[in-house]
Symmetry: D2
Subunit: 349 residues, 4 copies
Amino acid sequence: MIQRKSFGSDNHAGAHQAVMRALAQANSGDAVGYGADPWTDEATAALRAAFGARGGVFFVFTGTAANVLGLSLLLRPYEAVICPESGHVNVDECGAIERIIGSKLLTVATPDGKLTPALIAANLGDRGDEHRVQPRVVAISQVTELGTCYTLNELKVLREFCQAEDLRLYLDGARLANAAAHLGCSLADLAANTDILSFGGTKNGAVGAEAVVVMTEELAASAPFLRKQQTQLGSKMRYLAAQFLGLLEDDLWLRNASHANAMAARLADGIRDLPGAKLWQPVDSNAVFVRLDPAHIARLQRLRDFYEWDPSAHVVRWMTAFDTDETDVDHFVADVRRTASTANSSSDS
Amino acid sequence: MIQRKSFGSDNHAGAHQAVMRALAQANSGDAVGYGADPWTDEATAALRAAFGARGGVFFVFTGTAANVLGLSLLLRPYEAVICPESGHVNVDECGAIERIIGSKLLTVATPDGKLTPALIAANLGDRGDEHRVQPRVVAISQVTELGTCYTLNELKVLREFCQAEDLRLYLDGARLANAAAHLGCSLADLAANTDILSFGGTKNGAVGAEAVVVMTEELAASAPFLRKQQTQLGSKMRYLAAQFLGLLEDDLWLRNASHANAMAARLADGIRDLPGAKLWQPVDSNAVFVRLDPAHIARLQRLRDFYEWDPSAHVVRWMTAFDTDETDVDHFVADVRRTASTANSSSDS
Amino acid sequence: MIQRKSFGSDNHAGAHQAVMRALAQANSGDAVGYGADPWTDEATAALRAAFGARGGVFFVFTGTAANVLGLSLLLRPYEAVICPESGHVNVDECGAIERIIGSKLLTVATPDGKLTPALIAANLGDRGDEHRVQPRVVAISQVTELGTCYTLNELKVLREFCQAEDLRLYLDGARLANAAAHLGCSLADLAANTDILSFGGTKNGAVGAEAVVVMTEELAASAPFLRKQQTQLGSKMRYLAAQFLGLLEDDLWLRNASHANAMAARLADGIRDLPGAKLWQPVDSNAVFVRLDPAHIARLQRLRDFYEWDPSAHVVRWMTAFDTDETDVDHFVADVRRTASTANSSSDS
Amino acid sequence: MIQRKSFGSDNHAGAHQAVMRALAQANSGDAVGYGADPWTDEATAALRAAFGARGGVFFVFTGTAANVLGLSLLLRPYEAVICPESGHVNVDECGAIERIIGSKLLTVATPDGKLTPALIAANLGDRGDEHRVQPRVVAISQVTELGTCYTLNELKVLREFCQAEDLRLYLDGARLANAAAHLGCSLADLAANTDILSFGGTKNGAVGAEAVVVMTEELAASAPFLRKQQTQLGSKMRYLAAQFLGLLEDDLWLRNASHANAMAARLADGIRDLPGAKLWQPVDSNAVFVRLDPAHIARLQRLRDFYEWDPSAHVVRWMTAFDTDETDVDHFVADVRRTASTANSSSDS
């Protein structure tokens, strides 16, 4: 247990009480396994409607699993994925894409975690050459791993580029709720620009549940088999579905995300004027990336647990969650400022 | 929701209240993700002690995932697994072993789902031949997919044979609790005959949690990486761990399994004298396999949902769970007998 | 070097002089690599015509490679191959299908190495069940690993069954020439019953060259990429193509195969009346499978090198090649008879 | 057939007459398949001695196959390969490493195709983190894909760095002969700095043959099985071995490589003073990389077939082979100069 509210990750938070209640409600009597239960039916139908998904909705347990399943539905063995160098699929999944799908990732350096048509186009030179993997999927994250969001227009431009180039678009939505909250748009607005996307429950207040949303029927045909083969078919599926029912009730998912975003904005505001602290990326979601003096980082880490994103650039990442409150933020800001001023005084001396 | 108690599968049952309470207790405050939390520490330590495991304990979400992780720790790319034809890894995992590990299963026909040294030995003829995969792991299930249990002596004999033949022994323990209850032995007694085994929580009253137990340190070194790569590293791990804490408290796992076994025995007793019904396998656990007249099966399936295990042999499977009670069994037996006598009268007319 | 003509395998033979001449002729001047050369053009066109293949012809180096490439063009990740237990893909490729394609083989016991609709049908029970791999390809060998041939009518019946069941048919033609010679049919007659097949040059007098023949355009689109990815794109492709040019000239492939078959028939005739020797399979090609007394086998192996196919059944395999001559056969028969009579006399004493 | 000597690739050349003779000599009588023949014995022993390899020598058909086999012997499933972005394994193998081994390549941008300890060190930050693949192998090419060579001292420094960091070193030696010729060192000198390396025959005058050389016994144990599984076990292995016997006789491999290198040097000398032509990389082998005016490239490509290595940088690659003669070079230089001056005059007009 962590004593003070953690700004280390949004998965340090527990689960929202509404999710816990939904789990308890689902725990009544028997239900057929593997998804043939009323909770799964209801959650699936609700998400299909919310996303405008004609293909289907498939629950899995982790974000990595969602990415593997989603991408595996889009790729033949010699096809490749174009993604940002900083993408979760490239950096943080211990090579799951290469191991389980067997496909190469063609990575693109980006300043802000976001792909553009120009960045993608630079990887399309080898089409038709049998010596080279063939780019087929563009994989983006929304929110990106750097906390930034594509605007709806940026997504639309990407989508049109992909369609013109016969590329499919996969969106890693581990923090999709935060993007919807930031952009003030619907889930369907985001989904409309993709072929397949994931919708993360875990970082949004669930115990552990992600959904793979397949926009077209044609792409969904393999999904039940691949989910099972990829070890992600839950036998008591109702408990995955129930978590989404909890998050969907009265748009809890959106309220959770909006709140977390607001807390990140408050945090950013709290240190914006701090000498030596510089926001590294725009705060479009619940993540605050800041450049700090290394000595400052070291002092703050004695008080607080957080992730040094890029040690060579002295960039740290602070994250808020659905249950971060204003006092938590203010205390954290105070710790940041306190360790900064100590820094200054010590460097003064 | 199923109105009457299901005998279709032990995963039709919900979760035990003690597990739900443990989940609620774990839902307090922040905790570092991916297993660096006190619940994971406690559950891991308790299971290590219970199994006598020097390697480690790794939580995953599904039984298929446990089998994939466990086997992947034991195999090099050209090595193969000897397993019963009826094994879950062969039949019910949509080819996960072949896809994720890339290894061949050398399957052995067995009358009772159990391997013997003689059955294994028949697959060892090609050792050293570069054209053939090399048998390296023997994979058994305890309880088997046919509801039978290896005796401790049978396990010991298997283990000694494997050691003499330089084979490793993996045990799929999706229903390990039922085996321990049936044999009246400890988890450590079962584990001592294996290199790696799984311990299933899901069918024993959990929401969805399995543990991969690695008996030696040497075999565990790759496990954290492979669990992540295989999409099974839970970010809010405490909720997996908490389920095991719930099951371990006052040996709930054993009480749940003993009760389920007793209900299966009651069910078997209830139909033992029924003309036309014949027990197909010994009732060593919470499964009852019965041969019935096909017309009888058809009539009973109009009332009850269960799995026709082997349609060509007219064998059906009925399962009990931790929450099956004596009345449930008696009603089910009554349905079986009623549809049987109808059968007789209808065939009389 | 082996002093006496080997009956151990048709790959103990060297290459036919016409193949060596074709290699020498192709060794003139420069040619663009990876198949953009006139020899590849010519051999490909000739084979497309001979097989009636609209998809394409792809040269590879080994029979295992041909099977991997051919099957990989037909399978999605959760789909499986139904094949005889004795199939080369199952027994003799060190798990290449499972490793490189990642697909499960559903094996069927057969008395003669041949599949039938009834044997296939027994593996179709799980279609649509997400827990099970989905049968999609039937893989047969012609000639089979037991030296038997499907008749054209048997192939047609298989093909019609597959089409009715939405199954694709792959044919491993490592010894296709011997089948065509036995049946007195064209390569196109054999190919017409398949989706993809291989045509083996190596055992027919080549140095080492196999062709994957894809019957329809749609199935061939991935082939150039998968051949490269599977490590089988030869840079100096002309030397693969030239081997086929050598075999195709004046139907050398057919003359080689007919001759080898005739030598096998002569060998079978030579031992047919031998007490204690019993033909195990019909001699439809260049292989003779015989049951012999174990003591007889042991004595003969002191003189001759051959493969004990099934030690428990005392079945041995003797193979002829394009360069086996009548004297070779007669000497071999004499050795068989001599060691047999010794056997008899020794068992008499 | 190409009329004028090609400078497009060293695999446009045919095979050396000595290799053809060796093939013919191996084509005598029967030999046991899969490598149990005297030619394989002899070639293997000669190469083991030449490289100082205690592990073994394994023949395969293509350079991609050699890289896949070599790397597969060094990697566990969660381990990764650090290689130059320009490496053949990354660019030109259609994703074979990811597909067949399942491992991630961690690519490093390099100006000259060569890795350094500093470049490698930048990829070692995530060791021990289960979310990340674990770097285990450094893969270099000697000659590199940019025609450059590591000096023996550079290799030694790399090797020491790798050993200090518990990294293994794999060397892609598709053009190893050219490196030995350039450095004036033995094959053993090059091999001593590696764990496993390949030795390319194809670009050195063979028909198509590569050798995987394993330096230690421990690393070689899996090689026979993995070669078979990776579809690269030739049944008539003697014809692979014979090609190396041809190349080893009187150090033909070295004479071929020295000659090709000399021809590249002559070509470089021929255009060194040409206005608008700029050598892009040092000419350490048989490749000449040149920056040219795009209009010049276009005009020259009307006369000559060659590879535009980097269209955006206007860099072209010209290659010589064992059979390129001085007249060929002089004609090519004349074509380059003629199209250049035309360029100048046309731009003058």
